[in-house]
Symmetry: C2
Subunit: 347 residues, 2 copies
């Protein structure tokens, strides 16, 4: 099979023009006459010429590609973020190469090496949960390759970050429960070695304090990974307490949903006896009965924001800004699982 591509030179020979002219005509250089441009275009179509962008990348030292590292692609949050990144990047002519760290620090390091060799122009990453040291990102700063962190971002390390306000969101969620008349509010917390879950716990506590409610340690249940199974365990522990809670704020939707199911099996009514709020607005939250009140964490927008910031930094090579942190708005999506006061839809 004649699988040798047509090159600029081939076109040049055919048209008795120089490769320089062909190159300029194809890339729309202003100094080329309309007549020539048309001629070249026509011949290119005829011969099926299509520019070799590897050669062009190599020559220009611009690959027009960005790298993404996520722990796992099939976690809905990450796939939404990637979707946002791809959408924005595509509109700007950038390609997106993805890698899964599988929550392995070693693999994450190895991937950064690959990305460096591949000469990506920028990187967007959600850190693996094993990552405690950030030395493997230093090389990119030196090479002028911007790196944007999202969701699980480094602490004590100056960097570009896209985050949501976890503290504020948790505060809103908890205050909503208080306004619905709850006074014994429990919390299913994520791993406290992770920054964002710590913030959510803090927001919960602050809301209680503001409304002069006691902080009862027996109502705060920390999990390792906020799994469906852990949620059920926590819910059972709550029911075993001398006095059950009348409200529950969970650090994600999975634990909220499994808790609701445990309550329902124990013939405890949601929201009448326990009002429940989750976190993340997973698709399942509008499917479960009762529909789950939750925090919309805007994963798609997070991806767009990350890509937009990244490409801005790629283009502004000599700006004075070193790092930027962007905090996105979140929304409390009020649904049936927390609605004890029918009249009080809008608080």
């Amino acid at each position: 099979m004649g699988n040798s591509r047509v090159t600029l030179k081939d076109l040049a020979k055919e048209l008795n023009l120089s490769p320089s002219t062909i190159s300029r005509a194809i890339s729309g250089h202003p100094a080329i006459s309309d007549a020539t441009r048309k001629l070249v275009q026509q011949k290119a179509d005829e011969l099926g010429f299509t520019p070799n962008s590897i050669a062009s990348s190599f020559r220009k030292k611009k690959t027009q590609s960005i790298g993404i590292i996520v722990p796992k692609i099939d976690i809905h949050f990450h796939s939404l973020v990637i979707s946002g990144i791809e959408e924005y990047a595509y509109s700007k002519g950038y390609n997106v190469t993805i890698f899964q760290s599988k929550d392995s620090f070693e693999r994450e390091k190895e991937i950064t090496r690959i990305l460096q060799n591949r000469m990506v122009e920028g990187i967007i990453i959600c850190l693996s949960n094993e990552t405690k040291s950030y030395a493997h990102f230093k090389k990119f700063t030196k090479l002028g390759v911007p790196v944007i962190f999202y969701d699980r971002v480094p602490t004590n390390f100056n960097a570009n970050k896209i985050v949501i306000n976890d503290y504020e969101s948790a505060f809103k969620a908890t205050e909503h429960l208080i306004q619905q008349g709850c006074s014994r509010i429990a919390h299913i917390a994520g791993n406290q070695s992770t920054h964002i879950f710590k913030d959510r716990l803090e927001g919960y506590k602050t809301a209680l304090k503001k409304h002069k409610l006691p902080i009862d340690p027996s109502l705060i249940l920390e999990t390792k990974n906020l799994t469906y199974e852990e949620g059920a365990e926590c819910a059972k522990k709550m029911l075993a307490l001398p006095e059950s809670p009348d409200g529950l704020f969970c650090s994600n939707d999975y634990t909220a949903i499994s808790a609701i199911q445990v309550f329902q099996k124990a013939h405890i009514k949601v929201p009448e006896q326990i009002a429940v709020v989750g976190f993340s607005n997973y698709p399942i939250s509008r499917v479960i009965e009762p529909n789950l009140t939750t925090i919309n964490d805007r994963a798609f927008q997070m991806g767009q924001a990350a890509a937009s910031l990244l490409i801005r930094q790629i283009d502004d090579t000599d700006s004075f800004v070193e790092f930027e942190t962007i905090t996105l708005k979140t929304d409390l999506v009020v649904r049936a699982s927390s609605m004890r006061k029918a009249s009080d839809t809008k608080l």
Copy 2:
């Protein structure tokens, strides 16, 4: 910032060796002495040399990268497939660049142009639902770039395909309902212009025929996109029939779940009064009450199989095989939503 990379030449100059030798030492060529190899390795680490794989790709005409086109990344099925692809590709040293067609034929064509220019060595794609013509893939055959289709694959077009046996899976699901004692089994079908949904309808019909059950057109409800909302509509239509069905096989899990919820609101017991089976084994199927019986379509394995076939074809440049179709096994995952005979767990 001194953001100029260290090159082979720099290393060569430092060590008074030729670039050829450095290149060979770095890439592990056997003809290089151990002493030299160590020397080069050491200096490379010292100067922070890391090979420019764009230059290497350009020179070798091997990019070690493959392109994926999916309608949307944040559809769980696709993110699972991508995860399988990435995992396999990574283990073989290939990179994965992703694009979303957004179910637009025009965008899909544009993406194939980009992939051609980027010189990917192979492509894995789930067609957009607008795609009826496959001419935009012919160029890859000519260039010797293998293309693997999965899920939504071309019909009347010779190609590499990874599929599941939709007909057989639907047959299994329907027969399971029959064996659970259902005799009036309804079907919520997907768009009949799509091959896979047609096959599922056929499998359903064949199971009924085999067991001498009548095929009742009023029990077959076609939807456009198998959405949650369409599922609810269909369920309501079923309840409005003179005689309700006692079994329901749905072409995906969303419609199955929304149908269950409609039934439950109408105080119809699942599975006692209507047994329900879905398709795809979405995570939500083991969360909904009762847990949903469904077909495990092995999305992750589909991704791995696609990547494995692709890379095999990239490597075997002069094999006599032109196209390959791989059909993956599916599983009926029996859960509570269809279990009318407690004793009859294994059929």
